[in-house]
Every structure is written in C-alpha cells, then in structure tokens.
Amino acid sequence: MLTEHEIKEIEKEIALYPVKSAACIEALKIVQQHRGWVPDEQIKDIAELLDMSYEEVDGVATFYNMIFRKPVGRNVIYVCNSVTCYMMGYESIYQTLSKKLGIKWGETTPDGRFTLLPNPCLGDCDHAPAMMVNHDHYNRLTPEKLDEILEKYK
C-alpha cells in the first residue's frame, strides 16, 4: 500500500501533466524517497493510481538506473568509471573502497551502511577521479582520502 502522504505527493505531480501516466517517473522517485527503493507491491500501487499496467510501470522502473528495484544501503557510493576517471585512476579508488568495505560492485555491506555502484561520468572530469556519496560530490580523490569521507556517513 502507498501511504497517504505518498499518494498526496503523486497526485500533485499528476496535476502537472495532460496524461496521468506522465507522472510515472515522479511517482517512482517519490516512493524511493520514502522507502529507499521500490518494492513490487508499490509498482502495482503506482500502476493502479496512474491507470497503467504493472508491466508498464516496471518497464519504466527497470529502465532507469537511479530507480532501485532491490534494497540498497543507507548510503550509496557512486564511483565514476568513465574514461577520464579511468586514466586518472578510478580503479585504485574502487579497489580501496572494495577492500575497506568488503564488498564488490553492486553489493551492500552486511550492516546496511553502504552500497557500492559504478556510475558513468559525473561531470567532474577536470578534477578526476570523482565519486558521489548520496547527494554529495567528491573529486581529486586519492585512496588516502577515502577514510575521512566514509566517516561522514553512518
């Protein structure tokens, strides 16, 4: 079930578009904001609310890499793995993070604190290598800087 709060927020989005289904991405964003990811049941709820089929909503949800269809950690680390960061050494950043946290790409620490994901170019190429943790950008990374950054996220 969607919460009343979620429904209210989604309905506000529906009002902005000429067709209900146009609010689909916003609805997925709203659910994820409240729950951290989008479970099957809420795909069904969104489909009902927007007069769409389950498959249509899931098709949209699984298309976009920033909609999570399985649970993620309390904090998500996005390491840029595109070409400039490759030349400037993102692999050592990944190796260090992977070792420190004991997880590989796509995995979550057993305590649920971090999920580690690769991400295409973050637009920080003149300060590469770069990564994001949740909404925060970090650049000119070196393996030595990582402890201090990770400390900020509990």
Binding site: L16, Y17, P18, V19, S21, A22, A23, C24, I25, E26, L28, K29, G59, V60, F63, Y64, N65, M66, I67, Y78, N81, S82, V83, T84, Y86, M87, M88, N119, P120, C121, L122, G123, D124, C125, D126, H127, A128, M132, H135, D136, H137
Partner: protein, 425 residues
C-alpha cells in the same frame, strides 16, 4: 576578450541571484523580446547570428526554430532545455546551471516568445544535485518577479517553466528519448521524422536545445548578430565553453572565441602535459568523437574545421590521452560505457556494442587474434550511421574507428605479445 556566457560566474561557487543578474543587465533582452519583438524577428536574429547547437550536433538554432509552425495560437507548444549532460569527458553545462541559472531562464523565455510556447521544462541529470537546488531557487525568484507565469513583463504573453530532474541513463540526452522520459516513459528514442518541431512532447510542436545554446540567446538579442559573430574567429557565431581533461597540468573549462586551435587549448590554457607524460591523441568533444592526433593540433575548434580534420567538435570538451594509457583499454572503457547505456531498442546497438566490448576486452587481456581486428572493423561499418535507430552506436564507433587508424600498431602489439604492453606485472 569578451566572455558573455561566463561573465556572471562567481569564483566562490555561489550562484548569480536575480538581483545580481539584473544589476548586470540581465532580463533586458527578455523584456525587449517579449514587449517589443515579433516572434519571427527573434528567430531571424538568432538565425543571422549563426548560433550552432552546443549539444554537439551543431545545427543552426534559428533554423531549427523556424521549422515550428506558430500560426495557430490554440496549439500548445513547448520549449525544453537539455541539461542531461552525461557525455563522458563533458562538464560544461554544469557550470552554467550551477553558476548562472537566470541566463538559461532568460534564454528560454526569449525562445518561448519566438516559438509562441507557453510551457517549458529544464531537464537536468540526476547527478547535478547542486544544479537542481540552484535552478529551483532561480525559478522561484523569476516567478515572484513576474518573469515567469501569467502576463510576463506585464505583456499578454504567459510562460510556465518547470524543473525536471532525471533518474539516470545517457540516452536521455537524445532529444526524442528526452521527450519520452518527460512523458514518464522508457527513454527510447523515437523515429524521425516527424521531428519534435512538428510532433514532440505529448505530440505537440517542441524545441529541445542544449543548456549552453539557450545561454547564448539573451546576448544575441541584446547586442545583435553582427556583434555576436564578431566574438568568433570563424564564420560560426559566438564564444564556446571549452574543456580539457586528462593528464594535463591544468585541466579546466574556459570560455573562448569559437575557433581557438587545439594547440592553444592544450598548451596555453591546459598547460600542456604533466611532467613524465607524453601526448598521444585526444577526443575533441566527448566520448563519441573521433581521435585526433599530433598532426591535427593546429585545427581550429569550430564545427566545420574539426569535421574537416575527420572528427566532430561535439561538446567541445576534449579528453586527452597520454602515452602511459593503453589505447585499447581507453577505447574498451568507452565502448563498455556505450554498451551499458544502449537503450536496447534496436538490434545492432543492443547486440553489437556488447560484442565489440567483449572483443576489446579479449584483446586487452592478451587473447586477441588478427581476426578480431576484422570483427572490430566490420562493426564500425555495421553500427555506423544509417544502420541504427539513433546516433548512440554510430557515436560509439567514432573513437573505435579512429583508434584502429591511429593506434593500430598498439592493437597488434597486444595480439602478438599476448598481453597488454602497458601492464607491468
């Protein structure tokens, strides 16, 4: 040197507020366009300025606008800003979005008047969180000051502008995929024709322009096409945001006259290569442009000259490859990106890019054969222009086909030595 696009960008990282923007003459061009100019007159002015689209395609912006039928006042028309900056190596629109949001809004108001569009969207990629905050604040300021909403500047023209923040995927930067995404759908590109100018967002006439493109508009309206063209060193109008990344001494972003040479950018602005690194080649305008090498360093960075040299100006943000980077690994990284970001809609792109990726990986691992080079060459034709639904796969083939031209010896070394010569283990 005049720098209209970045004149308001502050070094402390804060954005240029409405008050500051107005103090510097901001919104005078929008006021003039809304109150004193006819739509066709605006479009003609932009056309005369020879402003070429800054997203990478380099099409004349005024010409693009002129394809929109504005005769029926009852038809809903849209203007959209493409701020889905995800081309690897590209970081130019970010500066404009975060630093001078009102310049973008003003450009879009003028475009809206020219196209008689009463609704607009600013589409910004998910990673640019600061830009989300800044654009939303600037939109709120503009609404409160009567520059957006009903009867803007006290005229009978109304324009509503909203921010849409994306949820990922490179393909959203393709304008018809972006439109599908705004409609809440999977971001698969649409068949063209019809072009968005005829049938775009919700089937209505729509113009999608890059963020940097819109940011040029207020200056063209304020100072005219003659002035605008005088900013450039080529026949293409204006200044351009140029970027350099890689192992150079001073990577960065600069607003310069269109047509500065690669050599000037690389040595005068980016400071040349870092000590201990030598120049091998560069992609002039993002991941989906052909390599240029030493012999091309005196090429002016304008659309026509870079095309003549065998590449594309693209986004104007160049990626420099040094001698300690393996060209096969470099191209493999690019192709992996494109294979991941293929929307999966058309078969050549969906199946071909992962194939190319696997072959490159195999060569990089030291297990490639000479036949693999033929397979790569075959794909550069098969995934080239005309064989796929959109420009993603042909774009992906540009760095590959040029790497096979300029760095073919390095590919063969991997095959003959049965290892990557750059890996010392």
């Amino acid at each position: 040197m005049e720098k209209p696009l970045t004149q308001n960008i502050k070094s402390d990282g804060s954005y240029c507020t409405l008050d500051e923007y107005r103090r510097n003459g901001g919104y005078e061009a929008a006021r003039k366009a809304v109150l004193e100019m006819e739509p066709q007159q605006i479009t003609q002015t932009v056309k005369d300025a020879n402003l070429l689209g800054r997203g990478g395609a380099g099409f004349n912006t005024g010409m693009k606008w002129s394809f929109v039928d504005i005769s029926d006042p009852n038809v809903q028309r849209y203007v959209i800003a493409n701020g889905d900056e995800m081309e690897p190596g590209t970081f130019k629109d970010r500066m404009l979005l975060e630093g001078d949001p009102h310049q973008l809004i003003e450009g879009m108001i003028i475009a809206a008047k020219a196209l008689q569009a009463t609704k607009g969207y600013i589409f910004v990629r998910w990673a640019y969180k600061k830009a989300h905050r800044v654009i939303q604040q600037a939109l709120d300021e503009a609404y409160q000051a009567g520059m957006l909403g009903n009867n803007i500047f006290g005229s009978n023209f109304s324009f509503e502008l909203h921010l849409h923040t994306s949820v990922g995927r490179y393909i959203c930067g393709e304008e018809t995929a972006l439109i599908n995404s705004l409609e809440g759908k999977r971001a698969n590109p649409r068949a063209k024709p019809p072009f968005p100018q005829i049938s775009g967002l919700f089937g209505k006439p729509t113009i999608v322009n890059n963020v940097e493109t819109y940011c040029n508009i207020p200056h063209i309206i304020k100072h005219g096409p003659v002035w605008y063209k005088s900013l450039s060193r080529s026949s293409e109008g204006g200044t351009k945001l140029y970027g350099v990344s890689g192992r150079v001494k001073n990577p960065g972003l600069w607003e310069l006259p269109l047509g500065v040479t690669i050599r000037e950018l690389l040595f005068d602005y980016a400071g040349g290569m870092q000590d201990g690194y030598k120049f091998r080649g560069l992609l002039p305008g993002g991941a989906s442009t052909d390599f240029l090498v030493e012999e091309h360093l005196d090429t002016p960075m304008d659309f026509a000259s870079v095309a003549k040299a065998g590449s594309r100006l693209g986004t104007g943000t160049m990626i420099v490859m040094d001698d300690q980077t393996c060209p096969v690994a470099f191209v493999h990284n690019l192709i992996r990106f494109f294979a991941n970001e293929s929307c999966g809609w058309c078969t050549p792109c969906r199946e071909g890019l992962p194939w190319v990726e696997k072959v490159l990986e195999k060569i990089e691992r030291g297990e490639g054969t000479e036949k693999d080079i033929d397979i790569l060459r075959f794909h550069t034709k098969y995934l080239g222009p005309g064989n796929t639904f959109c420009a993603l796969a042909p774009g992906a083939m540009e760095p590959l086909q040029s790497a096979l031209k300029y760095f073919i010896d390095d590919f063969y070394r991997h095959i003959h030595e049965k290892k990557c010569p750059w890996k010392h283990e």
